[in-house]
Every structure is written in structure tokens, then in C-alpha cells.
Symmetry: C2
Subunit: 198 residues, 2 copies
DNA sequence: CCCATCTCCAACTGATCCGTTGGAATTAGG
DNA sequence: CCTAATTCCAACGGATCAGTTGGAGATGGG
């Protein structure tokens, strides 16, 4: 069998992503990642460094993925509600990112890896909101940065505390009808939250 | 020194609460809890059972605490915005509960301990929202359960992903001005989200 | 004062975890 | 084909974890 280092790395990354999203930094073991990938553990260390470096790598790739699949254009042309809906859809189809972000927020304190690059990523969204405001599509009161954050919270919260969502709504996210119901609530809430009033 | 089992239990509970909130179920060790409390580890097992049972005990007590300090009356008389503000204030002053709820949502899948009692706790809030709607204080579209959830998300998200909040707003929650700014955004957002329109 | 009972703890067990090492298998260049 | 470099892996070391045990110290009723 010929060497295929790219494939080895890919399988290790995929296994690490799944394990970290499911169990978090503390709950994940390097042994389990290696076993899941069918690769020896030593490869993890030689390719990705230690556990924390591997977690940072995985999170960075997921952030790049969401940036690619929910482009800012979805804000330029459509309204805020549909932007929130697109974020909701991405989370529903791919709950990995939300879980990784939460694990990071809970497990690590202080500055996070690659914070400057990620800050730029968010600031681009803020800039898009500002532009929408100049077009008169947004109210003036919560400033753009706080508004972006609140809209993202509407879309993400469901996947962060699914047990609370289940207790409140009496249904689970596995139910397609309930999922659509939640999405509609998010879209409408984002419109009300951002839309110009009085 | 006379035996004081109540005090021993209280100190163990307090230490467990702090450790679980800081590090989560996986990141917390029974040794650290015992050492922090200055009590032998064996007392933890004889008083509270294993690690998971201890986590469930701690979370249950924090839920009871928030139910006592943010009563439903804050919804009956004031508006939704001030209710959201009160929840925000509770989280800011006592970030323990949000963190515990998140650890639970991430680390445990399937039904959570004491789910029926907690469901009742949330349904009471839904009922209060329904009453507000009958008074004409709420719009009709997102039904009460989903509305409660969204309002809670506005107040809680800041404390769940502080690293994202920092990157977006450029300030930290330690800054009192920024905290007030965030609170104001939450209050206004909740009003817009729930208030009757057109 | 005595003794059954409860509280407490130091030390242990067995398992697991992170990270490393020494060497075998494979590749590519000459 | 030969050799140096690279990829891979089984096995290990030291640390730490959850949970247990045997016994020392404190208590209270008779």
C-alpha cells in the first residue's frame, strides 16, 4: 500500500472533529480519535501537535466552512430574517460548529487561538449590517455589532441547549415540523428585532 | 470539634458547584472538589453518590435558585423587556446557572435528570406569556413557548459564548459600560420581539 | 465509664489518559 | 539494487482519574 499522507490527515481531522463536537475538549481522548480514524495515535501528535492545538485546528476549519456556506451576500440582497434563517439552516444541517464554539466558550477562558483573524470574520458581518442600515433597512437603536450578536443568538441557541428547547416546546428537533416551526420563529424574530419601527 | 454534617455537606456542595461551573462534568475531578472544600473525597461519595449524581444535584439547586430570584411576577406587572433584563442581570451576577445548563446540554444527550419537574418550571413561564398575550401586550405570531425560548436566548447567549461577544463588540463583559450596553440591547430587543405590531 | 454507632480520612486499586520512544515497513533517488 | 529519509505503529512511562477500604477519632445512650 502506497503512502497517502493527505488521506491520513483527512481521516484524523474528520475523526477529531466528530469526537470534539460530541464530547468536548475534556471529554475527548486522543486514543478514541486515533481508533475512530483507524490510524495510530502517534500520527496525531506528529501532524497536529497536542490536544489543544488539534482542537484549535478543527474549530478553525469549521469556521471557514460556515463562512463559505453562509456568505455575506445573503445579507446584501435578502433581508435580515432570511439571513437568520440561513444561519439556522446551517446549524441544523451541521450542528458541529455550534457545539465546538460552545465547548470553546466554556472550556477555555481568556483569548482564543487565532482571535484576530476570527475578529475580522465577525467584523465583516457587522460591516454588512451597517450597510443595510444606511439603506434604511435597519432601525438605529441597537448598534450593528450588538444586533449581529443578537440575531446569531436567535439562530444558535436552539442547538446549544436542546434539552431546554425540548422542555419548553414539548417537541424535539428531530421532528421536521417542529424544526420548521422553530425556523419560522427565528426568521420572524430577526425581522422584528432589526426592522425599522415607528 | 463537634460533628457538623450539615456544614460538611454545604461546603462540598459549594465546592462542587464552583468546580462544575468552571470545568464541566468531564473537566471536573472529584479530588479537586474535595480538596477545594477541605473535606475528604470519600464524603462526596457517601453523601452524594457518584459524579453524575452530584452534577444533577448541583444543577437542580441552581435552577431552584433562579426560580426564586427571578419570579414570574416580574412578567405579570412589568413588560417583557424588563423581564429579559432581569434574566440578563441574574446571569451577569451569577453566571453559574448558564454555564451548568450549557455543560449539561453539551455533555449529556437524551433526557436530563428531573426533566418532568423542570418542564413544569418552564411551562409556568409559558403560561405567564400566554396571559400577557390575552391582555393584548403581545403579538400573536410566534407562539408563547417559542417566544419564551427566544427571549431567554437573548439574555443568555452573551454568557454562553463570551469569546464571540468579545470579538464582535470589541469589549469584555468586565467593562461595566459594555455590560450596561448589552443589557440595554437585550431589553430593547425583547420588546421589539414580543411587542404588538401593525 | 463503655460500647455501639456515626463521621471522617489516608491510602489504595484498577483503569485511563496524554505524550513519547524505538524500531519495522515503505518510498524515492541514484 | 542500495541507501537515506519518511511514514507508520506497538508498547511503554508517568500522571491522574473514579471509586473503595480499613481503621482512627468522635459521639451519645445507658
Amino acid at each position: 500500500m502506497a503512502w497517502n499522507t493527505a488521506e491520513t490527515r483527512r481521516r484524523l481531522r474528520a475523526a477529531a472533529t466528530a469526537e470534539f463536537a460530541a464530547h468536548g475538549p475534556h471529554g475527548t481522548t486522543m486514543d478514541r480519535i486515533a481508533r475512530r480514524a483507524g490510524i495510530n495515535k502517534e500520527r496525531l501528535y506528529s501532524y497536529f501537535g497536542g490536544k489543544d492545538a488539534l482542537f484549535a485546528t478543527v474549530l478553525g476549519e469549521e469556521l471557514a466552512a460556515v463562512a463559505a456556506t453562509v456568505p455575506l451576500a445573503s445579507l446584501g440582497e435578502q433581508d435580515i430574517g432570511e439571513f437568520a434563517g440561513a444561519v439556522f439552516d446551517h446549524h441544523a444541517a451541521n450542528p458541529t460548529l455550534v457545539r465546538l464554539l460552545h465547548w470553546e466558550g466554556l472550556a477555555y477562558s481568556g483569548p482564543v487561538p487565532d482571535e484576530s483573524a476570527r475578529t475580522g470574520f465577525y467584523l465583516a458581518k457587522v460591516e454588512a449590517f451597517e450597510a443595510a442600515r444606511r439603506r434604511g433597512a435597519l432601525a438605529g437603536s441597537p448598534d450593528a455589532a450588538h444586533l449581529v450578536f443578537l440575531v446569531l443568538s436567535l439562530a444558535a441557541w436552539w442547538f446549544a441547549v436542546p434539552q431546554v428547547a425540548r422542555m419548553l416546546t414539548g417537541a424535539d428537533a428531530d421532528d421536521p415540523g417542529e424544526l420548521a416551526h422553530r425556523r419560522a420563529a427565528v426568521v420572524e424574530a430577526a425581522r422584528r428585532l432589526a426592522g425599522p419601527h415607528e
